[in-house]
């Protein structure tokens, strides 16, 4: 009688592979799903997320498009209105501005403007964030622009577990979903369950439990914030780190529940601070939990400049660990 090793229940994946697995699941689960975007097929995807999918699923379902952001997003919206489940990819959110008319004036608007007749179950994947020295037209973070708009759901996906599950879950939404991914962390590895496990994309996730201060963040910068939390622990400050994950709708309950315990909050985001998601979160905390607070809510964002190319300037423009640590010390009255 031979012994067999039990099948592993977890696997180590890069973030890129986790996203690809999620796309593959979506394509297998529902024959209405197809992908369209620039260089997603023969090239394998600008950030290699879709590498291999053309061979696996063929050109009808993995559709390389011309450099036509308006047509990519608009065609995906039309196909979604007529029974398909398209996933449109826009290489970077800087390019997504070319398609913003279709996102706002059509995807986000048609259901309401048609009196409930035409829903738009489209998923638009794009990327955000600096850190690869790509300068000001490839490095920006426009999550707040999209999160401003009623009628679309905005997700920010920067962990392996979320990436592994996000696409087929997003495709179950009958309404448009804009999904932000982060090139800077695509090669990060982590262990995830072999079988995709549903995640609660409607809720913010507590990435690190703590009792002294709440650090509210989203996107790739949360990994910087987690580093800062580790540094703070050495100073004897126990920080809770919340990944908002859903930027529209925002999960107030998780944030307010944490602030009620810690009485202090710092919001850290990669977009510019002015009129950002952090401003909204700070306002909501102030409106709903003012008397829980022992200090004003602090906010950190990128320097209010177009993102520069030179490494030292790019680093200086982005929130870094020391800035997060310093902000926490200030709200702890230790700064």
């Amino acid at each position: 009688m031979s012994t067999t090793t039990p099948a592993p229940t977890t696997v180590t994946l890069t973030l890129r592979e986790a996203l690809k697995q999620s796309l593959r699941d979506a394509l297998h689960r529902d024959e209405r799903v197809f992908l369209m975007g620039e260089d997603i097929g023969a090239y394998g995807g600008c950030f290699a997320v879709t590498m291999g999918l053309l061979d696996e699923f063929g050109p009808e379902r993995i559709r390389d498009t011309p450099l036509s952001e308006v047509a990519i997003v608009g065609t995906a919206i039309g196909a979604a209105m007529n029974g398909m489940r398209p996933i449109a990819e826009i290489m970077t959110c800087n390019f997504s501005l070319l398609a913003l008319d279709q996102v706002i004036n059509n995807a986000a608007t048609l259901l309401h403007m048609s009196g409930g007749q035409f829903n738009v179950p489209v998923v638009i994947r794009t990327t955000a964030g600096a850190g690869k020295q790509l300068a000001a037209q490839h490095s920006h973070s426009f999550e707040p622009i999209f999160a401003h708009i009623p009628g679309i759901r905005v997700l920010s996906i920067a962990t392996h577990e979320d990436a592994r599950a996000v696409l087929w879950q997003a495709l179950e939404d009958p309404d448009p979903v804009v999904l932000f991914e982060y090139p800077r962390i695509m090669t990060m590895e982590a262990e995830v369950p072999v079988e995709p496990t549903p995640v609660d994309l409607d809720s913010a996730a507590i990435r690190r439990a703590g009792s002294d201060v709440t650090l509210i963040t989203y996107g790739a910068i949360q990994h910087t914030v987690l580093e800062a939390a580790a540094a703070l622990a050495e100073d004897g400050i126990d920080a809770e780190v919340i990944d908002l994950r859903s930027l529209r709708p925002l999960d107030d309950a998780t944030v307010l529940g944490s602030v009620a315990r810690t009485h202090r909050a710092v919001v850290i985001e990669e977009p510019w601070r002015t009129l950002g998601v952090g401003a909204e979160v700070a306002a909501r905390v102030t409106e709903q939990a003012f008397y829980d607070l022992d200090a004003p809510v602090a906010r950190i964002g990128s320097a209010e400049v177009p993102m520069p190319y030179a490494k030292h300037l790019e680093d200086a423009a982005q929130p870094q660990v020391p800035a997060v640590v310093a902000a926490v010390h200030r709200v702890m009255h230790r700064g």
Binding site: I77, G78, D101, N106, H112, M113, S114, F118, D175
Partner: protein, 337 residues
Amino acid sequence: MTERTSHTTELTASPDVSREHGVHLLREMLRIRRFEERCVELYSAAKIRGFLHLYIGEEAVATGVMATLEPDDAVVSTYREHGHAIAKGIGMGPIMAEMFGKVDGVARGRGGSMHLFDAATRFYGGNAIVAGGIPLAVGIALADRMQGRDRVTVCFFGEGAVDEGAFHESINLASLWDAPVLFACENNRYSMGMALERAEAQTDLALKAAGYAVPAWHVDGMDVLAVEEGTRRAITAIRAGGGPAFIEYETYRFRAHSMYDPDLYRDPKEVEAWKQRDPIPALIETLQKLGHLDDAEVAALEAEVDAEVDAAVAFAEDSPLEPVEDLHRFVTSEVAP
């Protein structure tokens, strides 16, 4: 990808039309004309507000195009879409109620004149971003093709939309992917006040489509029989799997751009000259020459249409407003489809 030859053929109408079909076309054009004329009165009476873009003068295009479609073919339209909506088969009552901002309107009063929608007749809306509906039409058509359905999507837009990048991106993609779309360009010669010659360095619009390997034709948009014949030829080819086609319908709006427009940019003589080509009297003359119609029958048709418009106005008047409590409904879906 298929090789395609381009055409810029002038189509001349054949006067052969059966009595029944000729009367149908006349009725449809009259329905649009009288509906639009009533809208002018109701706008003056402040029953209709916002922008109001009238289709008067262009009725032959919507009427001739719709005569070639199957009921489950789709239409994507613009903010000048009352004629398209009526000809597609949406009831005049719900259209009028929409303009009154009432809950029985085709979009519960959320859209108004520029945004008529009807899922039942596959009318995907008046889109008021110039060229904003064109990529939608490509996607709707692509979805039909990918799902193996034998349907065509007609995308109406004005010649001003050809100025926009969305047109060029979309027609190229439709051509690459063989999307079953008819690009129906209603060239009424002015985008608001901007004359075509001042907006486009190349004013032969069919040539632009030909540049994307899309077969393209010019059609006299003031002659409903020419519209129908040219469109039928294109629709037949599209439905047979030939990929998209483009038709430039040469037409003219007899009224200003909208009710706000003092129409300072057109020579009244030019407007008068186009009115001499009014498609409605032209069809009446053709039908009378063929012995299909006498004056009494025209009068009876007019009376029938007037009664329909009266009933639509009464329907709109009687409809309630959407309750304010419903303001937030349909920002997101209430049930998964």
